[in-house]
């Protein structure tokens, strides 16, 4: 590759990606613009029908009604005033009227006239100055038409468009830098040419749209929140630029030998990005908005502040974040301890040589893990029922009193722990069994020759050789238990009054029972941060232990 060609390629990349951005932005504007115009028409129709229903005539918008020909009149209003933001003028079009004389300086086309006669709510027409929307028919002779000035396009979605556009173009640029030379000289011009054609087509389309529908771009841009535009543009550019800088800095010479590997990993990476990263980013975005009024409103860090300071509730009340965090940590620690203890004990038992029916025992002991959690949880919930549950019946038989399991925190917690232990020990048992079977038998022989007791051989042979297998299993198990939604939600349902709720079930309630989506999203992000902190901690500890062992 000559120096000149390289320079040209380096120049083409940014230019093409910029054109792609513009094209994408224009396409999206067209799309959104049309949608907004349509929505405006519907909103207008609704405002007008409210006015026509005869119940809002005392509103400040409607200034005068004149009775004419029995039922109809001319309603004049102030545009932009609540609750009729779109109502400008309401006219009644009689069948006999010639549409060309409908307004002094404009004509309305025939197809629209026909649509209005049918009284369809979506019948709209545009002229240079005005936007006409038909509403319901007054009677067979007359249709009400709302007249309003040409509406500007709502550019509220501009930031999304810019974000995506710049992200996309940045990725194109980055890919070009990365693989441009590797793919050979022809890929760039062909792909670039196609992108250019698309960009030109959408630019043309946008211009036609702007002219035909009279979108007033400058005013509309003013209406968009400037903070949002800046934030989205920056974040859209940031990711690909960071990646591009990093990789171009790394790659000084020949193309990477790992290209084949990247190609194989590619599809899985795409899946991971689409199914994990994008929803995560979406959730992260949600956490900064407040949805209580039904429309997203910017809330900034308010949700995080509310969660972490938890001022509304004292530490002993279940809705306090730290209370729930404490319960979750206790829940995780207790469960993992029980799982490991019971699992390891059973694995040691099963590992004895010459154990009859070992296969049968193993199969039976895996059953708790195999049965779907949902079913198990409901069965256990039934067993802990106050009146008819198996546990209380058993207690009565022994002569003890029935216990109302879900009315106190500790009994409810105990019920949850029992269920989860029953569900969770097979996993640890299987891991421990696998690890035990990999320990060579001659170690034990040597130990017994040296006179070591059972406990000593366990402590000095078995346990150190188990740790590499149990370590990751414990980390996985604790993360699973930390997020064990099924058991808590189905067995105790957070009884009493949310005390046994763990962080995930609490987040679920905020989202779907109280419908505070922004708050719940922030809650999930906090849970994520807690778990990330925990993983980092275990890595540090695990790494240190490994260094110690070696």
């Amino acid at each position: 590759m000559s120096q000149l060609q390289d320079k040209k390629r380096a120049f083409l990349g940014p230019v093409l990606s910029l054109l792609c951005t513009f094209g994408l932005a224009a396409a999206a504007l067209t799309f959104y613009g049309e949608r907004v115009v349509e929505k405006t028409g519907q909103a207008v129709a609704q405002s007008a029908s409210l006015a026509l229903s005869g119940e809002r005539f005392d509103s400040p918008v409607v200034e005068a009604i004149s009775e004419k020909d029995g039922r109809y009149g001319l309603i004049q209003g102030t545009p932009g005033a609540d609750p009729y933001p779109y109502l400008h003028e309401l006219r009644y079009l009689k069948l006999s009227e010639d549409p060309s004389t409908f307004s002094q300086d404009e004509t309305v086309s025939q197809p629209h006239w026909t649509a209005w006669l049918r009284g369809r709510d979506d019948a709209q027409a545009w002229t240079q100055e005005h936007h006409f929307v038909a509403t319901h028919p007054i009677d067979r002779q007359t249709v009400a038409i709302v007249v309003l000035p040409r509406q500007t396009i709502d550019f509220g979605h501009l930031y999304t468009v810019l974000f995506l556009g710049l992200l996309f173009s940045g990725l194109v640029w980055f890919i070009g830098l990365r693989w441009g030379t590797a793919l050979g000289g022809w890929a760039y011009p062909v792909g670039g040419g196609l992108a250019l054609l698309i960009a030109l087509a959408t630019i043309t389309r946008t211009l036609i749209f702007v002219h035909a529908y009279g979108a007033h771009l400058p005013e509309s841009l003013q209406q968009t929140s400037p903070t949002w535009t800046v934030v989205s543009v920056l974040s859209g550019c940031a990711l690909p630029i960071i990646l591009a800088i990093y990789f171009s800095w790394k790659r000084q010479g020949a193309p990477s030998p790992h290209r084949t590997a990247y190609t194989y990993v590619g599809p899985a990476l795409v899946g991971l990005v689409a199914l994990v990263l994008i929803p995560f980013l979406f959730g992260l975005g949600l956490a900064f908005f407040d949805f209580s009024s039904g429309q997203p409103e910017w809330a900034g860090l308010a949700h995080f502040h509310e969660i972490l300071t938890s001022q509304t509730f004292t530490i002993s009340e279940p809705l306090n974040f730290y209370f729930t965090l404490g319960v979750t940590i206790l829940w995780t620690a207790l469960n993992v301890f029980l799982h490991v203890t019971i699992g390891l004990a059973l694995a040691l038992l099963l590992n004895r040589p010459n154990l009859k029916f070992r296969g049968v025992y193993r199969m039976l002991l895996i059953v708790p893990w195999a049965v779907p959690t949902y079913i198990t949880a409901l069965v256990w919930k039934g067993m802990f029922n106050l009146q008819f549950g198996a546990v209380n019946t058993l207690l009565e038989r022994i002569g003890l009193e029935k216990v109302d399991w879900f009315s106190e925190f500790w009994t409810s917690f105990f019920a949850n722990v029992t269920t989860n232990t029953w569900l969770g020990f097979p996993f640890m048992m299987v891991v421990a069994l696998g690890a035990l079977q990999s320990i060579p038998g001659d170690l034990y022989e040597a130990a017994s020759i040296d006179g070591a007791s059972r406990w000593q051989s366990f402590r000095h042979i078995t346990w150190p050789l188990l740790k590499p297998a149990l370590g990751p299993a414990i980390i996985i198990g604790s993360v699973w238990t930390f997020n064990m939604f099924n058991v808590i939600y189905l067995v105790s349902q957070g009884a009493p009054e949310g005390a046994t709720d763990i962080l995930v079930t609490e987040a679920y309630r905020w989202a779907f029972e109280k419908e505070r989506y922004g708050y719940a999203a922030a809650y999930s992000i906090v849970i994520f941060i807690v778990l990330v902190g925990y993983s980092w901690l275990t890595q540090r500890v695990g790494g240190a232990a490994e260094d110690e062992a070696s």
């Binding site: 519907q42 609704q46 369809r120 028919p137 890919i175 698309i198 009315s407």
Partner: protein, 401 residues
């Protein structure tokens, strides 16, 4: 390769932009889409009424789509603004406020003349009014009333003192018999005592009244029923029905859905809820109205109203009663001989005059959870009433309307 794929993606995105949605139209008749969550008898009744409508409609046809009840609100909220929603749908009235605010439903005042509205029981209309607009036509109503077992109790109680006395005597007659059974921690049921004590949890305008004196008094009253050991603890709706069928409980407070449990029962009877002795006011339960509402984004609103009008006509109401025993909102139906003889239906009609319409303000949604917690603490487990209500008030937080 990658770049080519990316360009392809861009092309496809662009192609998708040109589409504009049109209303559904077959060659001759327009289709009006209707969503509902009915099952069994109610679905059969609806289908037969719509079939009659389709036969006599000149230029449009109704297409019924049945949805799961739990998914309805979510689907409506998402689909309607995008233009994928129905033209009209059937749902309970408690979400009217939120939907009206967001323009998801259309006020019917434009088409509905006073003669149209005259056919309905007046109590069923008030739940559909929000901000001075009427947002649907009522189909049927649901409320709570008192069921009792004639083999255990001869006459129904007129006051709560009588209720307590009768329950005590039933309870003491056998150890496995109970006086009264109803889900005490569910605010939907507890509200009847609250209204009997003169309280209201959410007025038409203004903040919720969680810590009012009537609320505290009603909680103390309900708890006293537990203290006197008249109510079995920890039973759910299914277990209450089982107890009633086994003649193990004298009084049950429940709604029209309880009918299916009375099929084999030979000594059931229905009565109006008693007066609260402390105040002299009748215990008034929440009234829920099932209505047909028109989508705010529909393109066939006039046709949709014609369907709604037909669906709520007296003849259709009679079909709905006779096929599914729906408690219809049409006045005239109750005078017809078949209906006049049905004790179950007439009992609910009598209870109707002593009900409170369930608030349709969006703020109501925020109250259920905290009140459930407060009631299960204070009514069932006897914890401090003031504390429980104070926590509930904090949990409700700021109401957004």
């Amino acid at each position: 390769m990658m770049r080519f794929l990316l360009c392809l993606v861009v092309t496809l995105c662009h192609l998708g932009c040109g589409k504009s949605s049109q209303g559904e139209e077959s060659a001759d008749k327009t289709v009006v889409v209707m969503w509902h969550a009915y099952r069994g008898d109610e679905a059969a009744a609806l289908e037969s009424v719509i079939e009659r409508y389709n036969k006599q409609a000149a230029d449009h046809q109704v297409r019924l789509v049945s949805l799961p009840y739990d998914a309805m609100t979510n689907k409506l909220r998402v689909a309607i603004p995008r233009g994928n929603g129905p033209d009209l749908f059937i749902y309970a009235h408690d979400k009217v406020g939120g939907w009206a605010k967001r323009g998801l439903i259309e006020p019917v005042g434009y088409w509905a003349r006073p003669e149209t509205l005259d056919r309905f029981l007046p109590q069923t209309l008030s739940g559909l009014v929000y901000d001075e607009g009427l947002y649907g036509l009522p189909l049927a109503y649901k409320t709570l009333t008192l069921f009792y077992d004639r083999s255990l109790v001869t006459t129904p109680p007129k006051t709560t003192d009588e209720l307590i006395k009768m329950s005590e005597s039933v309870r003491s007659s056998a150890s496995d018999r109970w006086g009264l059974a109803y889900p005490a921690q569910d605010f939907y049921y507890h509200s009847l005592w609250l209204h009997g004590f003169g309280g209201q949890v959410l007025p038409r305008k203004g903040a919720p009244q969680v810590r009012s004196a009537p609320m505290k008094n009603s909680i103390r009253f309900a708890h006293s029923l537990y203290e006197k050991d008249l109510i079995p603890k920890g039973v759910d709706a299914a277990q209450i029905a089982t107890l009633f069928k086994a003649h193990k409980v004298a009084f049950v407070i429940d709604g029209p859905w309880f009918r299916e449990h009375l099929v084999d029962h030979d000594s059931w009877a229905v009565a109006a809820l008693p007066k609260v002795s402390e105040t002299g006011q009748t215990a008034r339960p929440f009234l829920g109205v099932e209505a047909v509402m028109i989508s705010g984004h529909s393109r066939e609103k006039s046709a949709a109203f014609a369907v709604a009008d037909f669906l709520t006509s007296d003849d259709s109401a009679m079909t709905r009663w006779s096929t599914a025993r729906q408690l219809v909102a049409n006045r005239q139906v109750y005078d017809r001989p078949q209906v006049a003889k049905d004790e179950f239906t007439q009992a609910f009609l009598r209870q109707l005059s002593n009900t409170e319409s369930m608030p349709n303000r969006p703020a109501m949604d925020q109250l259920w959870g905290p009140l459930l917690d407060a009631l299960s603490k204070s009514v069932v487990r006897g914890m401090d009433v003031e504390e429980s209500l104070e926590l509930a008030e904090r949990a409700v937080g700021q109401v957004v309307d």
